[in-house]
Symmetry: none
Subunit: 249 residues, 2 copies
């Protein structure tokens, strides 16, 4: 099977106000495998020490970032643009979830197109005019408690969806199963080991008159067995229980 | 159709180092509709002006936050705990995606249980010992370019998945929560009941010289705690264990 490159995606920050947020955005981009950062008219100038301080291993993205004087130039090589807004406005654009936006965009990218994720200034977001450059508008669902997302947080969520999409695609491509399915769960002991533990426990409990109501003995045994099965114990955990039993009896 | 309350979820920050990150965490919680913040041993003390500066409309969460001296106290009323780590470690816990973790946790919560999302200190995350208190470990997939997520960014992604889950559930009024596991008969006992069982078991084991190798005592204690958490025992099942202990000792 032919290996397909992850979709090319660029982040465009339009008139960001705080350099710290540019740094945090670079960190998040590196976390989720997006390299290309384009900044249109950063308010606090460029380069920025404050941005570097917040980038935490994402400094290379700041170094490679390109600064533009106008939005048009920053997006000219792109073919599909996702814009993000806090609230849907009265525009003639599709407003969709980040997940759907990434899905559509990556489909575009896999056809050799180039995708942009565009985020606006912290105070007021993207202007209606800037939104006109987008193919789709993605709105992150928020609680009525507080609809205002931090710039880098909003980017984190969209970049995370991109990462998930890439992982899923790579796995399908190679016909692998999901990496985050149940790893590490440890081998569960076979039923016979549960049985032999109970076979040892029950006579001791009988000797110690644990089953005070004889009619309820079977019911209690079932409860014990259920508990042991539900616990999905490994063989070594059952050995610990044997050790406790040995110590106590 | 009966209306089900959104699952009760609390965020537990364990030994956070920078107050700014606590403020950013509060902002993110308010963005995604999570109110209960618990902070264990914040390095820079409490309350914190810096935290308030970063909270941006999430100040009410900081005001309602509760400070603890130890992790045990912060989680004693909870029944299901998601821990977050950057890398999977060699622990006997399920390691799953944030999406899966939220799904499982919210099913738990729909049965009247109480969910915690636990995040560790910025520098080194949660210790292996702290991780022992969790039911599942959620790892956010990251790029090899930079695996280190900012604390509030990591929380943003998990809280976003929670928000999506709640929205999806509300939109599918007909979809009742499915029972988490067929064997899971009753509500899960809160952590304090597990702790009080261990508090009773351990002195008995010490008296009976169960801990033959003193250096391995803590390791063995962790194994016992893990086993009890993994078993998802109900209060009545724990009473059975108390009964066994009484009979044997």
């Amino acid at each position: 099977m032919e290996k397909i490159e992850p979709p090319h995606v660029a982040v465009i920050l339009v008139a960001p106000q705080m350099s710290e947020n540019i740094g945090a955005a670079a960190r998040v981009m590196s976390n989720f495998g997006i390299r290309s950062l384009r900044i249109v008219n950063p308010r606090d100038g460029w380069p920025s020490d404050k941005a570097v301080q917040l980038a935490a291993h994402g400094e290379f993205i700041l170094k490679e970032a390109i600064i533009y004087n106008e939005l048009n130039a920053a997006i000219e090589d792109l073919t599909f643009i996702i814009a993000t807004t806090a609230t849907s406005r009265n525009l003639n654009k599709e407003v969709i979830s980040p997940r759907k936006a990434i899905e559509i965009a990556c489909l575009q990218a896999s056809q050799g197109n180039r995708v942009g994720i565009m985020l606006g200034r912290e105070s007021t977001g993207l202007t209606n005019n800037e939104l006109e450059y987008a193919d789709v508008i993605a709105t992150i669902p928020t609680s009525s408690l507080n609809r205002s997302l931090n710039l880098a947080q909003a980017l984190a969520i969209i970049a995370y969806e991109y990462m998930l999409h890439v992982i899923q695609h790579e796995n399908n491509e190679k016909d692998k199963y999901l990496p985050y399915a149940e790893l590490n769960s440890g081998a569960i002991a076979p039923r016979r080991e549960i049985k032999s533990f109970l076979d040892r426990l029950v006579p001791i409990l009988e000797r110690e008159r644990f089953f005070s109501i004889p009619q309820k003995r079977d019911q209690m045994l079932n409860k014990l067995r259920t508990m042991l099965i539900k616990a999905k114990l490994s063989s070594s955990e059952l050995r610990i229980l044997h050790g406790i039993l040995r110590a106590l009896s």
